[in-house]
Symmetry: C2
Subunit: 226 residues, 2 copies
């Protein structure tokens, strides 16, 4: 019965949903990604050779170039994975509250925590812009970390009232603050204490902003005098 055999085949394929070859393939691809993530984190993009990556993954360059078109593409894949992982963690932490101020605090706290692991800082913050180019990197950031910060800040500013012309500037400012702060925390002898300091400092900044009568042009009402 050739017909029944065919059906059985189909059923089995449908049940397993993957063939042995695909298993092997995705396994080696993951091995490449995992080892590359570690090596890129430890030695940077330029400091990591493909030979090291394929050796760590126990395959050859042939295998690598079967899965990735270039070293840069490998980095891009690693970058995307680390970034989306970090982003989703922060996003999840933020979602625990509805109050914009509390969301900001939760997000900051989580971000500082995540950044203690060097992966995100090294790959997404330090190497990213240089390896991918400023253009491509900013695009990715705008869709993840910068995006989160901007939306969070927008909510804060809306809660404060006033115009929106400074929203983008405030977003970039807090985005930079948080990036720098994460390095300060990660490099500190006592990261927990440093994290508390940073949260207190940013908390103070936010508390001060809540005391302002208005956000529109608080100083230097015009620049037509110099």
């Amino acid at each position: 019965m050739p017909h029944s055999t065919k059906v059985v085949h189909k059923t089995l394929r449908a049940a397993r949903k993957t063939t042995r070859r695909q298993d092997y393939s995705s396994s080696t691809k993951r091995a490449l990604l995992d080892n590359a993530t570690k090596l890129f984190t430890d030695h940077g993009y330029a400091g990591t050779s493909l030979d090291e990556v394929v050796a760590a993954a126990r395959v050859t360059k042939g295998a690598f170039y079967h899965h990735f078109p270039s070293k840069l593409a490998l980095f891009e894949a690693v970058f995307d994975r680390v970034q989306s992982s970090t982003t989703s963690q922060v996003e999840k932490a933020i979602s625990a509250s509805k109050d914009p101020w509390e969301r900001a605090q939760l997000g900051l706290e989580k971000f500082l925590e995540v950044c203690r692991e060097p992966q995100f800082r090294r790959i997404c913050i330090q190497e990213g812009p240089v390896a991918l180019g400023h253009e491509r990197w900013q695009e990715a950031e705008k869709a993840s970390t910068l995006g989160i910060v901007q939306r969070t800040v927008d909510a804060l500013l809306e809660d404060l009232g006033g115009g929106e012309e400074l929203n983008e500037a405030f977003g970039m400012i807090f985005y930079g603050s948080i990036k720098s702060a994460s390095e300060y925390v990660a490099d500190a002898e006592d990261p927990s204490a440093a994290s508390e300091e940073v949260q207190a400092a940013i908390g103070a900044i936010l508390a001060g902003m809540r005391l302002l009568p208005t956000l529109d042009l608080p100083t230097a009402p015009a620049a037509n005098e110099a």
Copy 2:
């Protein structure tokens, strides 16, 4: 009179203070530095080959390796020059006032202006940490830009009163703010307007901080409840 000849020689040397050879040497060295600065700014460290640098300076690799021990050393020299140039410009702008708040504003304004030229951002901010390594880069920053920001912030916080345990955190936060803000300004379609926005936003933050009764632990009095 061989003796008098010697004296003449000495006198001439002392008068000119440089020999012809030193003139040639420093000239080619400057050519290398200048062209490298431009190339590094345009294509980054890894994206610039030594062949391109020496071709632009119209010398050979032999000449280059006579003046610099490595490509990295060349970058380091370029880095130091750009950084100290920027630093001194900001420092000079700051020195125009004695009021800490005004000094902060002057420094920010000057920094944003200087960063519109891509040299400092590309070489000192983007490529620096990757090419030189985080360690060496942070050391240099601590002695220049970060140092200026920290001293400025210290003065602000002292003016506000309160303890000093958050000084370093505040310093890092504003340092990051300013770095990000400078990119926002430089990448903006209308840099002047963006600069105004940034100054207004940071002005608002500082204004808010002046309204705070105290800076010590403004929110989250303790972390022993979670």
